[in-house]
Structures are given as structure tokens and as C-alpha cells.
Subunit: 357 residues, 2 copies
């Protein structure tokens, strides 16, 4: 474990993206999203993932100078074809369209097809906050999750993200994978050689397992609510919703056809759509309610939940997005810790591309 | 258990609503939603709930001839004040506004305040389907659910509903409470004198319990993902989202202040808003993608999931909304079974109001 300055990581990421053919402004945008993930403590989606995008480009599966095109449009909607570019650039482009539409029409909604991984959903949704808007970001992703009653990988961890502004009181940022546990939690258990709770994972035969290694051996992640509480069908339904809005509605791939993020797995040859899909939105608060009043009530909402009677006196209710904001405050001051495997990977990538890390 | 014709139940419900002061058209609308719940097998939200609305009216807490008002509006949004009326009438009114706005602007979104219980969310969302639109319906509800780490009732079972049209292939209707289990499932366990899975319920001290009676004794329902899989914070976040969009954004009450549906519990005296809140929306499919293509891909999506490899050869993957559609087909033919407690309650209500059941 070693700690790096934000500027060091940002410059490196930007240079790497430019090496792959991105223009300076796009590379800056893409690097900014990775850094925001690291700042917020979503380490799996930060610079740790940089080499993944490069490998995809090396395989010819990511277009680093795409021509984004609005293929369809109404006053409050648009569909963008991202031309095989990275979601790291396409999603902010689409989110800006959503925000501009919301200024005129009250809300704006943009479906994106022919894209690639867009990093953390919260980055895109949070773009709405300074405009006194609620931001929304959904994406489908490489299949890793089985629908209830199946043993097949049919869905990604398909996140749902809503960023809700609360004025001087900050914001409420809901950003959750629709699987019970994300891959990152399995990796932690694998490294620690620990068992995982039943309800996270099924082995390749569809049997619930507490072995975190079962995913690598052909197992599947389970939808939110799985396990003994028998509510996995709800997580499946939420994941299906994200898949349909991001994939089917945009003209991207969906379900088992979503192309894998990792370059060592090949996309299927019978894909029904183009690339992966996202769905973003922006809703002006004052399209519904005076902004000042809304913020006053959001403060009352936040205060009520933070002061709710506790089970354990030392553990308060946590407002969605609160831990990430705390981590960001800390890392802005003290820098970003990276684990040794990530440092090794970045060193290797740097030597390979002639950009010393 | 006894079976009744749809017409019998509909006529009775309509007469009861008219007895309470509703005009014929509103009473017809309200009865239609209860009957649709019974047809779809959501028995807890059908005529079983009729007396609940009457008790609310008797206490002066439901306005049976409200004056709905659009208090705020943009091309794609509106906020409706329902004047203390029933959500059974206010939500379809708002949904029609959303659909009209979507015709012009691509999407339409309506927040509703000062309302009461709106029945099944699916009724409202499904109003969008014949217009080749995706329908959305959310509502907050009487507090029964504790946020993660608290022992206090702070949230309702706050449902999320999306109805997605699929042309001749039907639809995908996602309609789920954001708690792990709905109250109805507890009642089944209570009647059968059975234990429930850990993760559904906490007792009044915040201790997980398998006793379904603990809710009546001051316990709380738990958010989706609770229990040993440690994902309850996700269900809390989803429930919070529904509460903020339905309650805070509309100017209704929210969190612990949402007034109770049951007339024997009094609303709090320090309510920050008006009534309960809903949030509905409609998105034109062809605001994003040609309708014919979308339906062809929805068929492929549905087919892929229905034919996903099974764990148990006899149990297929169930598409969201499929069981309700099957139940409706069956009940349209054979009538609606009601259990004896419900029949007794309707008989009692009928004698009281002079409308023989």
C-alpha cells in the first residue's frame, strides 16, 4: 500500500488515454472520472481499471476518437450513438444533453448505445447537482448475475444511481449495484481467505455457496435480496429494468449479449445491438417545487434519518452517499492509497507504453 | 373462501364509494383499481381494503369530492395537489397528465401531494402501455420499515413500479415493495403459525426475529437485502429514493411523518407537508427508439430470459408481471376468490351503510 497525489494519478491517466489516441479534452474527462472514483473510495472503478480500458483499445474494441451522434430527439429526450467510444466520455456528453433539455422542458433523458464501461454511475448523476437538478444514471454491464431460478450469467451488476441535491446540506447520492454483493467484496474475501454469506453467489450448478472463489469457477452472482429471505426476484426485476432502459431502449446489447469489459473474453457473435448501453437523466427540482423549500425539507429529511433511534448507540443511520463524501474529504487532504497489485499493474502499463508511472 | 363475480364486487365497491360522497365517475375509477388488484392476485390491495378507505373518510381524513389542482408545470412536468382526495382517483388523473405531456415532450412526470393510498402501483404505471409508453408509479406510505441500524419505523414499504410495453408479446411489469417482505407475507405466516426467515423483521429492540407477530408488538419491517447478506442498506436507499421523489419533491409528508392509512392511528401533529405523496411518469418508447424495433427486441429479451438454463428443470425464470397476468386470465374466467375474513368485513360494511353485499 502506498499513497499518491491526485495530480500524479490524474496526469498519468490522462497521458495514457492520449497515448491511445484520445484528444486532450476527452482524456482529461476520462481521467477525471477515474480519479473521482478513487477519491470517493470506489477503488475498483478508479485508476485500478485504467489498464482494462487500454486492453480493450488494443483489441480494437474501444474507439478513442469516436464521433458521437444524436440519432433521435424530442424536447425531453435523445438517443446517442457513442460510435464505440468509452462511456467515460459518452456518458458526460449525454448527461450534458439531458441537463440542457431539462433547462427547457423540465426534465431531460438520454439513452446511449454503442458505448463501453462508463466508470462510476455517481459521477454522471452528480453532474446534475450544481444545476439544482436530480441526476440519474443507469448502465448495463457484462453478464455475471443469474436471474432467480437460473444458473446462467444473464445480467450485469447493473447499477441504479440517483443524485439528489440538498443545497448547503450537501446531497443524497444513491448508487447501488442490483446484485447482492459487488465483485469487489468477493475479492476482499478471496484475499482474506474468508467465507462469504449465503445469498451472494451460486456455483456453476446453481447451488448456493459460501466460497468466494466459486465465481471464477463458472459461478454466478445473485440479485439483491437473494438468500434465505427469498426476495431475490426483486433484485432480478430491478436489474432487468436497468438492462431494458439502458440496452433495449437505446439499441445497445442486453442480457447475456452485453459485451464483456475484460479484453480476454470475446463478445458473442450473435449480438442483437451495438456495444453496451446507458440511460441518464436530469430533473429540475423547480420543475416540481420551489428550490428553497425543497432544500429546507431535504435538510429535515436528512436530520430525521441521521437522528433516528439506533440499535447500537455507536452506529448511526448512514445517509446514502455519506461515506463516499467523507472518504473524498479525507483523500483530497491526504492523497489516494493504492494497493500493491494496482501499483504493479500501473508500473507495467507505464513501461509498456513509455509513460513512466 | 368463496368466489364472486367481478361485476358483483365492482358494483358493490362503486356503490360504497358513492355512499361516501364520490361522484359516479370517480367511484367507478376507484372501484376499477381495487378490482384490478383482485384480478391480478394482489388480494391485500383489492376489495379487502375497501373498508379501510371508508374508515378514513368517516374520520374526516379523506376528501371524497376533492378539487385537484395543478400547482406547478413545465412542458414535461407537473405537480398536482390532490386536495385530500384518494390516490385511487388522484393518481390516474396525474398519470393522464403525464401521458399527455409525453405525447408533446417525449416524457411526462407528475408529483402528487395531499393524497391518500393509491392502491396497486401497477394500475397507474400500466395506463401508459396502450400508448406505447413506459409507465412509472412510486408512492410513499405509512411508516413500517426501519432504515439500516435503526429500530424506528421511518419509511413505508414504498413500492417501485415500471410497466414496459412489449407489443403483441405483452409487457414486463416490475412492481415491488422496497422492504424485504410485504405485510401480506407476514399475515400468511401468522395465520399458519409459522416462523419467518431472518431478514424480514426486527423486534422493537432492533433484534432480528423469526416471529411474524413481532410487527404487531412494536417491531419493524426491514429493507430489501436485509439479513445475513448484509445488503439492507441498498433497500434502505431505494426506499429513501421513493420517499424523496414522492414526498419531498411534491410537498407531501415524508419519512416518519407520512400519515397512517389505518384510521385507528392518528397522524402526527408536526407534519411538514400535505397528505401522502406519489410520483408517476410516462416515457414514449418512440422518443428513444422506433417502436417496432423495440418490441422485436423486447420479445428477444423475454424469450432469452424465459429459456435461461434452469437450476430445477421444473422451475423456469419468471418474467416480472407474468404471474399476475396468469392470475388475471384465470380470474377473468372463474371469478375472484375472497377469504372468509374479507367476506365478513364486506358484509359488515354493507349492513352498516345500507348497501347489501
Amino acid at each position: 500500500m502506498n499513497t499518491f497525489t491526485i495530480q500524479h494519478l490524474r496526469t498519468f491517466a490522462q497521458k495514457v488515454f492520449m497515448h491511445c489516441g484520445m484528444n486532450e479534452s476527452d482524456a482529461n474527462q476520462a481521467a477525471d472520472i477515474l480519479l473521482e472514483a478513487d477519491l470517493r473510495g470506489i477503488d475498483s472503478h478508479g485508476v485500478a481499471r485504467l489498464s482494462g480500458y487500454v486492453r480493450l483499445w488494443q483489441k480494437g474494441r474501444a474507439n478513442m476518437h469516436p464521433h458521437f451522434q444524436i440519432v433521435h430527439e424530442t424536447p425531453s429526450t435523445a438517443t446517442v450513438d457513442a460510435d464505440g467510444g468509452l462511456g467515460l466520455v459518452a456518458a458526460p456528453y449525454a448527461m450534458n444533453i439531458a441537463i440542457e433539455k431539462a433547462k427547457q422542458a423540465g426534465t431531460g433523458w438520454v439513452a446511449i448505445r454503442h458505448s463501453n464501461h462508463f466508470g462510476i454511475a455517481a459521477y454522471h448523476a452528480m453532474m446534475a447537482l450544481p444545476h439544482d437538478m436530480i441526476g440519474i444514471a443507469l448502465t448495463n454491464a457484462s453478464p455475471l448475475v443469474a436471474p432467480t431460478h437460473s444458473k446462467q450469467r444473464m445480467l450485469g451488476t447493473n447499477p441504479i444511481c440517483y443524485a439528489i441535491p440538498a443545497g448547503t446540506h450537501g446531497s443524497v447520492v444513491i448508487d447501488l449495484a442490483t446484485s447482492t454483493a459487488a465483485n469487489g467484496k468477493l475479492e476482499i474475501a478471496q484475499r482474506a481467505n474468508k467465507k462469504i454469506p449465503l445469498g451472494w453467489l451460486q456455483d456453476k450448478n446453481g447451488v448456493d455457496t459460501d466460497d468466494p472463489n466459486a465465481l471464477k469457477e463458472g459461478g454466478v452472482l445473485l440479485p439483491l435480496g437473494s438468500g434465505k429471505t427469498e426476495a431475490g426476484h426483486k433484485g432480478f426485476a430491478l436489474s432487468a429494468l436497468v438492462d431494458i432502459l439502458s440496452g433495449v431502449l437505446s439499441g445497445a446489447n442486453y442480457g447475456p449479449w452485453v459485451p464483456p469489459f475484460v479484453a480476454f473474453l470475446e463478445p458473442r457473435t450473435d449480438m442483437p445491438g451495438k456495444g453496451i448501453g446507458h440511460f441518464v437523466g436530469a430533473m429540475r427540482v423547480d420543475a416540481f417545487h420551489p428550490v428553497g423549500e425543497f432544500y429546507a425539507h431535504m435538510q429535515r429529511w436528512i436530520d430525521a434519518f441521521k437522528s433516528a433511534p439506533r440499535i447500537d448507540e455507536n452506529i448511526p443511520v448512514i445517509i446514502p452517499g455519506e461515506p463516499e463524501t467523507k472518504t473524498k474529504t479525507d483523500r483530497l487532504l491526504h492523497g489516494i492509497p493504492l494497493n500493491n497489485l494496482v501499483i504493479e499493474d500501473l508500473n507495467k502499463l507505464g513501461s509498456e507504453l513509455g509513460i513512466p508511472f
